[in-house]
Amino acid sequence: MKSLLTRLGLAAALLLGSVSGVRAADPKLVVAFLPKSKGNAYFISCKAGADKAAKELGIELLFDGPTDSNAAKQNEIVENWITLGVDAIAVAAENKEGISTALRKAQKQGIKVVTYDADSMPDARSFFVNQATPEGIGQTLMDEAARLLKAEGEFAMITASLTAANQREWQKHIEARLKEKYPKMKLVAVRPCDDLKDKAQSEATALMSANPNLKLIMAICSPGVPGAAEAVKQAGKTGKVKVVGLGLPNENKRYVHEGVTDSVILWNTGDLGYLTIHAAVSLAKGTLKPGAKSYTAGKLGSFTIAGDNILLGKPFIFNKGNIDQFNF
């Protein structure tokens, strides 16, 4: 009931907004920004960057999304935006194929489409703002681990599952980097945690007792990082066994401050939102065209475009010095 009311209210607000826009013949561009789910802190932090870009560019930003990660709801929202006649839509796709039909329809109506965070089918959008390539993630994690261990010693890895495609992809790049650059480091074990913090904690406990020379645990799924950190802390090995991983700042702040976890790696979500809105606006204005090789987004400067992927660049490293600036 509540969600119905808010949705009605939102629709009314949107309608009013667009009507007044038309009446005033305001050249203000309208860009719609669709997260996978709108209550999620991750996407709210993306939106903070998007808001900043909207302000700078003097455009109107619409923000709406499902309350739960719901692919069908995403389609509905896009359909509404098509009806409203927005200028550009930026989408984080919950379902790659599912959203694409609606996005193609939007493109047919002359609406420019970019995706961010999670891509649609390539023909349903002009560009995908790619927050991190598997290669970038793998290399940054491995380099950070090597930096902490001074490129020497044993480490173990905790993954979500041994079969998940993204985990395997990251693992492949981590192992490639290890082989190429760090001959004195050794990956002694890879353990799955089923995306559960509690299981990661048990796994990390066993890893430490089974491998007395273990110097570092690298968790490449987000619940694994605090799970491993808690295990290290409880084993009284803070500082002796270091923890790095791919995760969210809020889930790791306390361990970073306690010195259990050294670095948490992800991308700067604010920058992701900022770059996405800049790209969407430039597309709508015609200043960014398919085939471009690079793109300059306001204060963030220049970004490489690989094919139809605008690359956000190297992942971001959260550590003691900067983690408090992020809230997601």
Binding site: D68, D194, D198, S202, R254
Partner: protein, 308 residues
């Protein structure tokens, strides 16, 4: 053949694993990691006790994982608001008991099949929680951890609570009339009714019990770290059902005991750390656990055919 052959065979298997570890990976027996392992399994044991009751009563409850998550998050939020843990604990158990009572009402009151009822509540609770929390962790004050005790005191407390519950319930099932009613209803509800037992009431109550135990277990889990992951408890139902079945509790009801379930739980819980210590690839973990479950089910099948 000894009537406790099934239980003894599980204990034997567990003993074999423990001896093998002593020979091939003595590092397994370091006090801190071992205590941590037991502490991590203590909440699971509490839920497994409840599951044993439910299965002996010829029912099943696959919603325990979702109940566990819901109670964990609610209790975590209360603790984060500064509620004293001694108040949060009864609230958590009450919430669990209420969720269990809802299952119990549908199963015993409306006579619906428990697998369908608890499948529905499992999905509904999980999705509802996802919708509200969006996967966000609950951060609690540091004082919550270990109920404010030192780490080792807290760990021993968790293990002690779980073992105390196991022993009390294990004895009650054998020596208290209410415990024997559960066996009677699980063996033959109609005969139990003729003997003056109210099968529907017993069925309702076992669901209330497993709910309250799940609430307690959730509490015992959230004090082990300062954060609650809303996914915690995912897959818990499979873990405890497997432990109970491996421990010799017949899925057709009326047979088995909590000691067996305890041994089954320990056996399955040993698999992952044992593989880590033996440096065997993790791919084998689920396969070995599956193999153990299959072996137990086959043993049950062979035995009941012999009896017929």
């Amino acid at each position: 053949m000894n009537r406790y052959f099934r239980e003894l065979s599980v204990v034997g298997a567990l003993g074999a694993v423990l001896i093998a570890m002593a020979v091939f990976a003595p590092a397994f027996y370091q006090p801190q990691p071992l205590l941590s392992l037991l502490t991590r399994e203590a909440p699971t044991l509490v839920v497994a006790c409840g599951m044993a009751l439910v299965i002996i009563c010829r029912q099943i409850d696959i919603s325990v994982g979702s109940m566990f998550s819901v109670v964990s998050v609610c209790a975590g939020l209360l603790a984060a608001r500064g509620w004293p843990l001694l108040l949060v604990l009864p609230v958590a158990m009450l919430l669990g008991a209420l969720l269990g009572a809802f299952n119990g009402f549908l199963v015993a009151g409306l006579r619906l099949p428990s697998i369908v009822v608890t499948l529905a509540t499992m999905v509904a609770l999980r999705q509802g929680l996802n919708m509200v929390r969006q996967g966000e962790f609950v951060n609690m004050p540091d004082a919550v951890q270990w109920f404010g005790l030192s780490q080792s005191a807290g760990q021993w407390l968790m293990v002690a609570i779980a073992l105390a519950l196991l022993v009390a319930l294990g004895l009650a099932m054998r020596h208290v009339a209410a415990g024997r009613f559960v066996y009677a209803v699980g063996t033959d509800a109609e005969a139990a009714r003729l003997a003056g037992i109210q099968p529907q009431l017993v069925t309702f109550l076992v669901f209330v019990f497993i709910g309250a135990f799940t609430g307690l277990a959730a509490m015992m889990n959230i004090v082990q770290s300062p954060q609650v992951q809303p996914l915690s408890g995912m897959g818990l139902e499979l873990k405890v059902i497997a432990a109970v079945v491996v421990g010799g509790v017949a899925i057709s009801g009326g047979r088995g005991n909590l000691w067996g379930a305890f041994a089954g739980l320990l056996l399955l819980a040993c698999v992952a750390p044992a593989l880590t210590h033996l440096h065997i690839e993790a791919y084998w973990e689920k396969a070995i656990q599956g193999g153990i479950i299959l072996l137990a089910v086959v043993a049950d099948g062979v035995r009941s055919r012999k009896q017929n």
